[in-house]
Symmetry: C2
Subunit: 252 residues, 2 copies
């Protein structure tokens, strides 16, 4: 059996507003789901403050050990937007105004008061970078090497992901199937462990909940091999039903 290549990505979220609790992050879930479809696994996430050293450390660690690194946040026109300068510092390159980004911003702001110096900040990129299209608002995202520098506002991030769809090399997407059961996970812990052991290459996750006064759990089976996921799910359903429990397909 040949070992299948697993493609991984990391995400660095740059934002005091997330660390202060002011803003609820939406980008982890959104980017994770998008990566799955590209056949890339989100391996790790860091949330760092708007501080150059923190950004440099995260970027240099994560880009070295993952196929791709995404960042969100800190690419606007104000003084607290330091992502581009920090990533340039991490890479040891200078910052320049990207000609196509300048043209994009000039067109975008032509009817919105003109391209001021502050707005032109959003055309600044590390030397050697390409742009990521932004059909939602003016300023583009930036790609340099295996780093993808994206907006922090989730619907703008979504538009940039859309522009990248199908352009990144990945492996087989991870297939995930869920079943649910009104059972305390502690009552079926052995059965779950056995199902994972019996099917080499699957991961079985157990996610308990308490709802309407009752205890239940969803069990999620993941693998890049869809047939293996199906076999593991079938065995899990049989094992749970053999204990007299009712299983809900697709989860509860």
């Amino acid at each position: 059996m040949t070992q299948e290549r697993i493609w991984t990505a990391a995400l660095t979220i740059i934002g005091d507003e997330i660390l202060s609790g002011r803003t609820q992050d939406k980008n982890v879930a959104q980017i994770a789901a998008w990566l799955n479809v590209q056949g890339i696994r989100l391996a790790e996430v860091r949330v760092v403050a708007d501080r150059t050293e923190a950004i440099v450390e995260a970027v240099n660690t994560l880009r070295a050990r993952n196929d791709y690194l995404f960042t969100t946040g800190g690419i606007g026109p104000t003084h607290d937007d330091i992502t581009v300068d920090s990533i340039a510092e991490a890479l040891g390159v200078a910052v320049e105004h990207h000609p196509r980004a300048m043209a994009v911003l000039e067109a975008y702001y032509a009817t919105r008061g003109g391209l001021t110096e502050a707005r032109a900040r959003m055309a600044r990129v590390p030397v050697g970078a390409d742009l990521i299209d932004n059909k939602v608002s003016g300023a583009p995202g930036i790609r340099i090497g295996n780093i993808f520098i994206m907006a922090g506002v989730p619907h703008i991030t979504a538009g940039m992901l859309d522009a990248l769809t199908g352009t990144l090399e990945g492996g087989r997407p991870v297939v995930s199937k869920t079943i649910g059961c009104w059972v305390a996970e502690s009552e079926v812990a052995d059965l779950l462990r056995d199902a994972e052991k019996a099917h080499d290459g699957v991961a079985v996750g157990s996610y308990p909940f308490f709802r309407d006064g009752r205890t239940g759990a969803n069990f999620v089976v993941r693998s890049a091999d869809a047939a293996l996921v199906d076999r593991c799910i079938a065995d899990l359903v049989s094992a749970l039903e053999a204990t007299g429990r009712v299983v809900t397909p697709e989860g509860i």
Copy 2:
């Protein structure tokens, strides 16, 4: 002027379910807000997979450079719950069943089918640990040194935070005030930068949005010095109003 001691915490979220995009994290915002009230700043967050090496790396890095480290997730009774063993490995200590945790679980499960071996897993702690009360469900959280090991399910985490309220040494809470304005942040970037520079010790954040077809932004001023925040906000309001704009107190 004496430099004020800033107390920091880090958070490690242990969970394949977050990295897969299946579950939307709620704990970053919840724990950040709670820490603010304790006078502790959330300095960094990592989301790591359910893998021992990933947990050990995050725990050892973050506990060394922060006053406190919180973890969420992976303390249930199933095979994918490896937080306690991983943290024990990070600390170089063994794992034992905590007597009081056993008593708590015995009482909790007395009317719920009894304390099975799987359930008793939730009484396992790194040697030398104390417990964190859990009034919501059975299994307690764990404190060892400056590490606080908490549940992943947000309302159980909330109960554990509640049990810790007022027990951790911190500094002055960060005071945060927000004003809003229907303006593109790029039009007032200089004014924001100047306000931050003029008030040493504040951080001014700019958070743009697009709503009802209009562009606006909220500006957030943060500092442990409430009077300084007020002065900076007053100056910002004056500067914005001097450009003919209407400012919304408390933000939009």
